[in-house]
């Protein structure tokens, strides 16, 4: 047992279909000498308390076993803890694992054991951290950027604020989690162009506004639903910022964290 490692399993892995995969992961970790204390997330169990208990017991690397949603369940408090994060994706969705260069299943154990640590930026919305993005669907909300200008759709639109995520046709991350910037995208609602065939459903064409910023405030006259790393919240106003180099995470050699062309330059 390696006390420096602790494993946090998602409760979905208690399903019989995952038993073999979990057994393979545990065996591989034992072989690699990284087998540590294991805990399982559960509905009525605070993930934060579980992880804080692991850190108190001396764990310096917390390995999340599950999928991207498992990672998002713990990401909102992890940057405050003095730990390095490992990730073993077992089932879909594992898009973040792809960006981190981590293969699914027990092959990810070798990545964790290799300890190739990257330091990533982390987004913050009010008092909560986020790794991937903030998403507001079709609302009249605006974003006050760096207290200098206000930007928003004229009628209504979809707003996304990305730290990490999105994949280009080349399979490279669109939002770079190492550049110290958040990417603001706004897709305004646009009426569908008149169709030559009126019975056919034509989807409206959306063009996306792209601005980079460090601090902003999402504001709305009406309460808005907002998705933070896939978790839904509601409110009128949200402070958003980027905290550079806040999260230590183990990545694979084939990570795709930085765009091929880092040519989008930030707004001041």
């Amino acid at each position: 047992m390696n006390r420096l490692y602790a494993f946090l399993y998602d409760d979905i892995l208690s399903a019989p279909s995952f038993q073999r995969t979990v057994a393979n992961i545990e065996t591989r970790c034992s072989v690699l000498g990284i087998q540590g204390r294991a805990s399982r997330l559960a509905i009525f169990r605070s993930a934060k308390e579980v992880v804080e208990g692991m850190v108190k017991d001396g764990a310096q690397t917390i390995v999340i076993v599950g999928n991207d949603k498992t990672l998002e369940k713990v990401m909102w408090f992890l940057p405050d803890l003095p730990v390095t994060i490992g990730y073993i994706p077992v089932c879909e969705p594992f898009g973040i694992a792809g960006l981190l260069g981590i293969p699914p299943g027990d092959a990810a154990c070798d990545i964790v054991a290799a300890r190739r640590v990257e330091t990533l930026d982390i987004g913050k919305i009010n008092d909560r951290y986020f790794l991937t993005d903030v998403y507001i669907e079709d609302s009249k909300a605006t974003v006050r950027v760096d207290d200098k200008f206000t930007i928003g759709a004229i009628r209504a639109g979809t707003i996304s604020i990305r730290n990490l995520g999105g994949v280009t046709a080349q399979g490279v991350a669109i939002a770079n989690a190492k550049d110290g910037w958040l990417d603001l995208g706004i897709s305004p609602m646009v009426d569908a162009a008149p169709s030559r065939f009126p019975w056919a459903i034509s989807s409206p064409k959306r063009e996306e506004t792209c601005v980079r910023f460090k601090e902003g405030r999402i504001q709305s006259q009406e309460p808005i639903d907002i998705l933070v790393d896939g978790h839904q919240f509601n409110g009128f106003s949200f402070e958003v910022s980027i905290i550079p180099n806040a999260l230590k995470i183990i990545t694979g050699r084939n990570k795709r964290l930085e765009p091929v062309s880092s040519a989008i330059l930030p707004s001041e």
């Binding site: 991937t132 330059l265 707004s267």
Partner: protein, 164 residues
């Protein structure tokens, strides 16, 4: 403020929300204010900017500012270079070259080192060309509706190599 409800969407991935025509897709080189989006305030960019939407306030770009034909700008503008096809109410200060396409409609003063004006463009204001040259040329044009390029004639008369 925060509730604890979770979104249960089995297909959630961080890469499914990017519109296919997003400028964030590979190779994009500029900050973009798209059609249907409005900006109010002091808008600054350290690089190139493409504006197809509405802007009120001030715009400054360290790179090339491109204003599309559907853009409505009520702002004073500072940029390294500019390519303008839309309507602008405000003063333009362009460090190098400004290109005005046929659909450009400017109400305000223009300062630039070099300009190119396409037939049909309207510039309603004072035009000062040749910043940084020993003898800048001033052209009063209220309005300049351009069947040809009047600045090029000035260039020939003054024999200034910096024009156009």
């Amino acid at each position: 403020m925060f509730s604890n409800s979770k979104r249960e969407e089995p297909g959630f991935m961080p890469n499914v929300r990017i519109p296919q025509n997003s400028p964030f897709h590979g190779g994009q080189t500029a900050t973009v204010i798209a059609r249907g989006v409005k900006v109010e305030g002091e808008f600054h960019s350290q690089g190139d900017v493409v504006i197809e939407g509405d802007v009120r306030g001030t715009i400054s770009a360290a790179g090339t500012l491109t204003i599309g034909s559907d853009a409505h700008i009520v702002a004073n503008i500072t940029a390294q270079e500019a390519v303008i096809s839309g309507s602008i109410q405000g003063n333009l200060q362009i460090e190098k070259q400004a290109i005005f396409h046929a659909t450009a409609h400017i109400v305000g003063d223009l300062t630039a080192e070099r300009i190119t004006v396409e037939a049909g463009a309207v510039i309603d204001g004072k035009v000062q060309i040749g910043i940084g040259t020993a003898k800048p040329v001033q052209v009063e044009s209220v309005p300049v509706v351009t069947p040809s390029v009047p600045e090029s004639r000035e260039e020939k008369k003054e024999e200034s190599p910096s024009l156009l």
